[in-house]
Amino acid sequence: MVTTKRVLIVDDDIGIRRIVQLTLQALAKWDVLLASSGSEGVAIAETELPDAILLDVMMPGMDGMETFVKIQANPITKAIPIILLTAKTKVNEQKHFNNIAIAGVITKPFKAPQLVDQIRSILNWN
């Protein structure tokens, strides 16, 4: 039995959460978990252990980098691949991502139909 993927989306913007959810569900039939803040995202990651996490960088309160550190620091959630969602498109803006163990970066804005392919490509999912 093929288990469908479960992806956690952590983004403070409700619209983006909903769009991404609809996109992943419609195109990839993945299960989508939603978190509206970094702290919520950490909690859900610990409890749900998703297959991947789409993490917005700029969030109020615990921003994406703090959330990432917390998830990485937790041995339970450490192995979950994390894809950052960021509006920083320039190389020098993304350079600090190079030193952390993220799976990949998807820049905003993105086209929803290509989102699934990008995730698959980054995570090497079929």
Binding site: I19, V20, A26, M58
Partner: protein, 1376 residues
Amino acid sequence: MCIRDRIWCQDHSPDILLVDYLLPGINGLEFLLQLQKQTGHERISCIIITGQENQELAIELLKSGAEDVLDKNRITSEGLNRAIANVLQRSFLLRQQEFQRQGRSLIEAITVHSTDKSSELAEIFQYTVDQIRKLLQCDRVVLYQFQPDNSGKIITESVIDPTFSLLGKDIQDNCFAQNEEWKEQYRQGKITIIEDILVGSHHSSCYQQFLEQIQVRAKLSVPTLQNGQVWGLIIAHQCSNPRSWSKAEAELLKQIAIQFGLTIQTVLLHQQAKKEREERQKIENVISNISTVLVTKIGEDFLQVLVKYVCRILTVDYVCLAEIISLEKAKTVVVSDQQQIIDNFEINITDPPCSEVVKAKPNTVVFYQNNAQQLFPEHKLIQSGNIQAFLGIPLFNSSQEAIGILTVLHRYPLENSRLAEEILRIVASRAGAELERQQIEAKLRESEADLLEAQEITHVGHWKWNKLTNEVWWSPEIYRIFDVCPTQKITFSCFVNQIHPSDKDRVLQDIEAALQGEKYSNIYRICQSDGKIRFIQSNGQAIFDAQYNVVGMKGATIDITDLKKTQIELEALNVGLEERVKERTAELTSVYRRLQNELEERQQIELEKQNSEKFYSVYLEEELLERKRIEQALSESEIRYRRIVETSSEGIWQLDQDNKTVFVNPRMAEMLGYSVEEILGKSFLNFLLETDKKSVDDLLGQLQTLIRQPYDIQFCRKDGSILWGMVSTRPIIDESGQYCGRLKMVMDISDRKKAEEILKFQSQILNEIHDAVITTNVQGIIQTWNHGAEELYEYTAEEMIGQSVSILYFAEDLQKMQTLVFDPLMKQERYQLELRNKSKSGREIYVRLRLSTIRDEEGNILSIIGCSNNISDRKQYEQDLLESTQFLETVLDSFPLLVAWKDLNLNYIGCNQTFAKACNLFSVSAIRGKNDENVPWIPLEKNTNHDRQIIQSGKAELGIIQQYLQYDGSIVWLETNKVPLRGFDGRVIGVLETSQDITSRKQNEGIVKEFNRRWRSVLDNIQMIVVELDHNGNVEYINPFFEKISQFTPEEVIGQNWFSHFIPSDLYSSIESVFQEVLKDNTHEYYVNPIVTKSGEKRIIAWRTCVLKDNTGEAIGVISIGEDITEQSRLERMKSEFVSIVSHELKTPLTAMQASLSLLHEKIIDPVSEEGEEIIDIAADGVERLVRLVDDILDLERLRSGKLTMEKKHCHTQNIIAGAIAQTKELAKRADTKIKVPDQSFSCYADCDRLIQVLTNLISNAIKFSPYQSTIQLSVENKNPPSNQESNAKPYLLFSIRDQGRGIPAQNLHSIFERFQQVDASDSREKGGTGLGLAICRDIIEQHGGKIWAESVLKQGSTFFFTIPIHSTEVTNGDN
């Protein structure tokens, strides 16, 4: 047009050609060109007439040489006339120009001829007339020269046709005025112009006929002057036709005449100079020839050759040389008739012209060139010989006495008088000298004859010995004395052989001494050939050559044989007499004793025989008579003896056998200071000095009977003084031959001894002193040579005595020796000089020679004393000193510094060239004697008189800097070093000062100072940090701004390590390593790092660093200028964050929009489905957010940049509130929030819409951040602060919006009004805010001149306030 036409033109030379251009066969241009070619004239006065209106053709015609081109169609008579006139005028001017050019050329050519020394006048004349004729193009040009009698003749001509020639023809102008008026007119430059002799009345018919006679139709003449006098005329003739002479021609001829006159003068001068040169050459040849010809001639032969030579050179008939015997009589010495000597030629010096010659002064020539016969009708010789010319010159001897005359007589006038005079003068001096020589020779011969005669009479002969050839010359008397044949040649050996053997050595010694310079005076015997002995006395002296070498002797000799005989006899007589006296004395002495004894005996006998008187009376009487007689004789003898003894100037001392004194004469007693009685009976030895007693004692004991040679002995006077005496001793022998005592003669030689002692002492001194003391005789033969001389010159006394002092001189100095050394002594007693001598080894010695003389009573020099001391060292020192001085002067002069030195009186005694030049002196020596008042600069500051202080203290003063005012008004700075000058003894003798012009340095210092001041001002005032660190990172300098920023004081910073004290500890090492890299590689010119202030605050500083290096290029530290970019960084950071946030905020809704639309577009989601509608809402919402965000950002930007202006007008607060309520009604409704509004309404002056915007934002925030169903309170208050003089507060409205929300932390109360600064950023998403609202509100309120702020209590709520200024209050009641 054809060749004929061209030939016609060529022959007739028309003034102008008018040529039609278009002609059959050849056009006008071609014709013109061919004519030009044929005539060779480039320009031909030609006017081309053409009917073609072709400008190009016209240009070509003009270029080809046509003077003008006329259009046939437009030609008029006036135009044609004008064109012709122009062409003619132009041609005339050209001709004029050409004429003048040719004239100038001719004048130049004449001038060139004048400078050509080889030019002859005739050539110049001919050339001139030829050229004038060509120039004027006339028929004839002549040169007419005036003669002294005012007549004239043509001397040169140039004619176009030989038939016009006047040369050689006798032309007499009888019409010419005989008075001198014409001369003056010509001298004034009168020009004569006759254009036609047949026309005009300004000349006489006579003159006209004259001119016709010489074929003159027209004439132009100008005078030529030479040396201001009229020389002649230059005349141009036109023979066949009349002619109009132009002004230019007359003027040109006048110029030529002037130059011609100068040329004549110049050429004549050249010729004269040439003639004089030839004459001078002749004279020089004469002098040379005379020397050559006469060099071997002497005597009459000489004079004969001389007169013959003069005859030949002057080519005259007679030359006569006569000797003046007396004023009235002259003896003809020699006369030459050409090359023959004439005898019996009598000359009369009492009549002129010879008398004139006799009376003339030296070198004066009496000269009658050509009229001697007329002038001297009485002179027989002149008349008989038909003599025309006479020259005569007196002959003088060296005493300027006239001793003869030299005369020249010639039958024809003498042309070249000057040459003759010169030759006579030259010859006269030689002739006079020769004549004088002959006269002197004659006198010498006469004297010689007289001398010989005198010698013969007096039997004195003289002799001469040539040491070099060994030959001896004797006068006849000596031959007679020596009894030698007069014809025999005598040598020195012959002479010596005739000297008596006993006297030979002595004579030779004396001769040797004489050769050394001593006087020779000797009496010796010679042996004649017959064996007879003759006594001769010979006196003489050495003969020296020019180099003071002895070359022989000369002297006189007299036969003194007879005299000697007489002397010998006399001596013999004297000896005999002395013997007899001695014998007689001894005899008398013994007789005296005997008589005394006898007397005693007789007395006894007498007593005994008194009784028998009678017996003995007869015997006694006879005995008494005998005794009386003997006694008488004895008494007389004794008296004489006593007289001799007592009056003798010598001491006489008689001793007995026991050496006891039996007699001393008074003189002896006087010499010893004793009385006679005190001496009698005492031993001779008692009166001697102790040291001499023994020797005398020995003498006394030895061979008493011998007569001793005199000896010197010291006596001891009574007073203890010493008496030197020369003692001669003779034994006294009685009749029996027994020794009975001694007789001593004592001569007082104390003075002599003293003198000897002195001499000895002086001699010792002489030998001990280091100076060389040399004495010579007048001829320079060395007589004494002391030890000092031996040391100095390395010659021994034996080597030098008798030698010439010239040995001590180098060959090249010998000449000077006489003039410098000996000659001055003739005039003065003492003299000293410095000169160079030569030692035996050839070494050069410089000596200071002090000379003095020893003279006899008549003042004749007997000896010359020279004292020399070696100054070679001093000379060397002087040379070294001179070189050092020159070197020092060179060094000093090459100094760019002013160097000068002063004496103790502060007067300058020397300086270098730089100083002298600065003082405008021509030489360094000119500074001597000047002082500071004479230098061209005055100190501006009060002079502290450094010089005096230096002299007194003896210490140098360096680096004295003073300003000076120069005479030209400029200021100069001088830095002077003054040091004391010291003498050898260390005493200060002056001041040496060296000065350097530091004006430019001072100026630079001023500039540097100003620069430093400005730099310091910059550093102190710049609003940037300036820090200087050493290579270790320690602080060396901070500027005031750093102090302000960091709150550290300089004392707390300077010297501290920058990195450890002022850099955050976590960055210490990295910043420090950057510093090292900067020091090493000068990298990191710009970098940014934080510093820590005293309060611990971190300030971000942007540094620009520069490495400081020393002279060798080594880094010694850094200086950094830092800009406090803390605020800037914060703002940058904020900006970066803002951009980041804005970017995020913009991209977020864009992401929602793009994703939504892509889902719909790709039909992944059905748009009409529920999800589709949701997606569309998300997209729409995103759009709204985006629009709001963009609007807010733009609003904010417009507000910040001032682009958004407030449209202020009177508003009512009621309306503003109502507008805001309307906009927030829906939101309030959703949140079920009540909004309470104020009742009062106020008026304000503001942009109502913007206030609504502010209030809307604040109300929206209050609603958003209040809980559900809360209440928001709005209020407006009219605030009217009390106005007073101290505050300018204006009335304002205070708006307040109070909510019941969660409150705002105190630390955020200010920052919430910044862009994107929210208490919680999530609020912007949830609440729909952009984060810019409050920032926009602040800007709007601040642009109204109001303030906005917030007050809050957490969990209770916040109140936002803002104020708006009002202009008036209008209070109304209003409801919400």
